[in-house]
Amino acid sequence: MIRRGPILVGVAVGLIAAMGVIGHLQPMRPAKPPSGPMLPDYGGAIRSAVIQYAHGSDFVLPVYQQFLAQQSADVVIYLLCPGQPDLEEFQHGIGSVPCKVHPIFTAHPMTAWSRDRWVALLPEAPNRPYMLLAPQGELQQEIWPQRAGDSHIADDLSRALPRLLTSRRSSLYFDGGDFLADGEWVFATPAVLHRNLQHTVVTRDDLLAALADDLHRKPILMDDAPDHHAGMFMMSAGNHRMLVADPSLGEPLFNSADPAAAAFPSGPDFSAATQRRFDSVALLAGKLGYTVTRIPVVPARDEKMYLTYVNVILDVRAGQPVVYMPTFAGQEKLSAAATAVWQSLGYEVRPIDCSTVWQKGGTLHCLVNIVERAEISLPMQPNGG
């Protein structure tokens, strides 16, 4: 009869050896935390969103003020800013708003463009945190202090809100605005391919696999799309409907006499080559089974400035689909035409004057990044769909 001693010693030795092996292997390949697919733009009511503000970004305050004034008391806006003086500048510019504004201090520089810093992934199970997926790095962060600060935003958020959010850094380079998620798809701009091919991945197929792995949706690379973020030229309207911007609709309505039009350094771009790029997106969406609706846009020839009406935030209020749509002073004909398009799809249009920001390369959708939506199903489908 063998006593317990050798057995206990054997168990202890075996456990120590196993822990040593596992401990050696695990740090080499940390397991990726589980998460669901990328949060789509089209879905339920907004529950929470993230905006950024830093001194020097006062051009965004009129846009924030209009958007926040329309958010109800049950919506939480997480405001990231470097410190107290930035917060006070924000509060002075915004005034009183009905929604809750929860400030988070970062103690580092940043821009105001929250959309590009991360994409939100749905929780893998109810009551679990949302995952913020940040890119490997920001474009030109080595020379651009605000961009270097932007690269920490996802981590800042997860540290400040650990119950709601967790964060992870992708091995890929991207801007959050390079993606548009809808249904089973995630559309990706040409920049994603160019920034990663032969840098973070060897082949195009590797990139597709990495995107599917990161975003849990089928990636569609839009090779011929305009050289800008996806939300500047397309937006899902739900129920397999896609809005795609169309310069040919914008040209006859564009008011070139408006002083703001002078912001286009070399004028608007209604060239055939540019039109083809927008059309290629419409064609692609059509091939994927979307019903495509075109909406006016005025792109710039020399800059990434668009007078665009798809850079929107979608919401649902009391069962009614709502679109917060950018408008531009002096371009009333364009705005009226765009309003009619959204209304024809069953949306209540709430205009947000973006006259102070569009020259910076983005508008409303680029400034507001949605974190949480109510259940991703609409009580009433727009346009009876």
Binding site: G10, R29, F59, R195, H199, K360
Partner: protein
């Protein structure tokens, strides 16, 4: 003092415990390895054409500084760029590719995106190389790169396009530009 039987018992128990514990945690280890299998860090971006490889690099120059692993270009002249083609195949090969130099500048420090990157120089090449042969083409340009910009050399063959070379230029960030309406408001 343990007998031989004690040692055998302890050893067998240790082996069994080790095996069971590792087997229990193995799926986590294995999945973690698979999850990252799709992405690879590429040390030198390479355009591959029918068994040949084309890469690009800056010629050694004082215009490029390196600090803490970050390479930056001094604003002004762009140093010569060497494009290297190498036939890795087993027979003579002629292939065509296009090199495009793109210079982008920063809009302002609070803008969403840099300015549209414009091709400032483009050249088509046709090279015939013997098996194992390499050839270096040196490109010199009179183009200048502004502060806080980016210089990129794209290589393209057939439908493949890669950013073969990218470097940012050093300098002071310009202040946030006022929009036309802000300017009008202050008048």
């Amino acid at each position: 003092m343990w007998s031989r039987q004690h040692w055998i018992c302890a050893g067998t128990t240790a082996l069994a415990t080790f095996g069971l514990t590792v087997a229990l945690f193995w799926p986590t280890i294995a999945n973690a390895v698979d999850e990252k299998a799709a992405t690879t860090v590429v040390s030198v971006p390479t355009l591959k054409v029918d068994g040949s490889e084309i890469t690009a690099r800056f010629a050694k120059s004082d215009l490029i500084t390196e600090e803490k692993g970050v390479r930056l270009l001094k604003p002004g002249a762009i140093p010569p760029i060497e494009i290297i083609a190498y036939n890795r195949g087993e027979k003579e090969q002629t292939f065509n590719f296009t090199a495009t130099l793109i210079i982008a500048s920063m809009n302002d420090r609070m803008s969403r995106v840099p300015r549209v990157a414009k091709p400032s120089w483009e050249q088509e090449y046709t090279l015939t190389l013997q098996p194992g042969q390499s050839r270096t083409v040196t490109v010199e340009t009179a183009e200048k790169a502004g502060a806080l910009g980016q210089v990129t050399l794209n290589l393209k063959a057939d439908k493949q396009l890669i950013e073969a070379l990218t470097i940012s230029t050093a300098g002071e960030a310009p202040p946030a530009a006022k929009t036309p309406r802000q300017v009008a408001a202050t008048k």
